[in-house]
Subunit: 202 residues, 2 copies
DNA sequence: ACTTCGCTATACAGATCGGTATACTTAATT
DNA sequence: AATTAAGTATACCGATCTGTATAGCGAAGT
């Protein structure tokens, strides 16, 4: 996948050349931003964690804002690629693919999102004027569109409604897991999605 | 309700005397913290917005961390009082009371939470070591316990599972609304909750 | 051979951060 | 009449913030 224009890509193009130093900066930023929050982490900390000078960081990314964009766009890329891989290897029936979404989300979240959805968390810290804001909203619209399309194939005429209902379960499970409200949130959401697809409107 | 020990109260006690100045500080902090995020707002900004000197702010609250605690505890108090009022005036049947929760959440959110749940958003910014962390988790556990209890009265033996499923819908709707993924999230969650209570396990 | 690229090292700028100190005022309490 | 509480005004502290400047180094490309 070149930049962000592939099957899973968005309109946001990768603006930075990922030199070895830039890669380490991005890796450090992803960890620190997610764990501690965007505003709580300074560029000095990121540079130190990456074992890189601040000049390298600014030569590659130009600003902290842009680094935030790359942080979210990078997670977006990897998550979409992961999800698409799971969907492609799932049975072709739309219901099975929807279930595959929830199972992929569970596995991804267990491995990468102990504090919940990184996009939701970033949204809490930045306003609409921030260049990373569209990355957040587009990611959510993308999953919604995916759920809606598959739900429409499964239950023609009810794609819109079912897609949104699936999104409620999906986003709810990430919050419940991230805030440790209850432990089995990710599996519970999968169960509920399955039930929703069987009855259509129970 | 005295402090935070009433019907809707938690273990967190109000540690500050709410003098007129302190009230304006808290009002300004609530608005700024919610709109811009906790780390993005400085104490100077809050004091200026409240029309108060920084000394007054520190005389009343002692630290920014404590002000964050009061911010979240205050929202918690008002939201719980609002919700309990709605539940008390709803029909006594547990199903009707659960629906009342979702309708109350919708009305409260429309009036106070354009950017989604303030506790979820705060959780994105602070770690477990922050004194406000327990305010967040206790608020979520409280609603979960409330849903679980009512769901158990409605469907004996299935309170735990139904309560959690209701929480998925509730938290999901706040995210979907706060990130404007789709506009009717709050009403849709109410519909889904109603359906869930009718079939029990559809 | 010369230039460009990616990088280190260090120092610095101006602003803002959370928090404190000092001195004064005003109103209510005792 | 003396004290206390709640407040203003202002100045300051050291730390940290984002971002820039200067100088140099080694490897790769032309």
């Amino acid at each position: 996948m070149d930049g962000r224009t592939g099957t899973a890509g968005t309109a946001t193009v990768r603006r930075v050349t990922l030199t070895p130093g830039a890669r380490r900066v991005l890796a450090a930023a992803e960890r620190l931003f997610y764990d501690r929050g965007i505003h709580a982490v300074g560029v000095d900390t990121i540079a130190a964690e990456a074992g890189v000078t601040k000049k390298t960081l600014y030569d590659r990314f130009g600003s902290k804002d842009q680094l935030v964009v790359e942080y979210l766009a990078g997670r977006d890329d990897r998550w979409r690629a992961f999800l698409i891989g799971r969907i492609d290897t799932a049975p072709p029936e739309p219901a099975a693919r929807i279930v595959a979404i929830f199972e992929a989300s569970r596995d991804w979240t267990l491995a990468n999102s102990a504090k919940g959805c990184s996009f939701v968390n970033a949204h809490a810290e930045i306003g609409p004027e921030h260049p990373a804001h569209t990355v957040i909203t587009e990611e959510k619209r993308w999953i919604l569109a995916l759920c809606t399309r598959l739900a429409g194939e499964h239950f023609p005429g009810h794609g819109e409604r079912l897609g949104r209902e699936l999104m409620l379960l999906h986003e709810g499970s990430l919050v419940a897991y991230g805030l440790t409200i209850f432990p089995d949130a990710l599996d519970l959401a999968t169960d509920r999605a399955r039930a929703l697809l069987q009855t259509g409107n129970a």
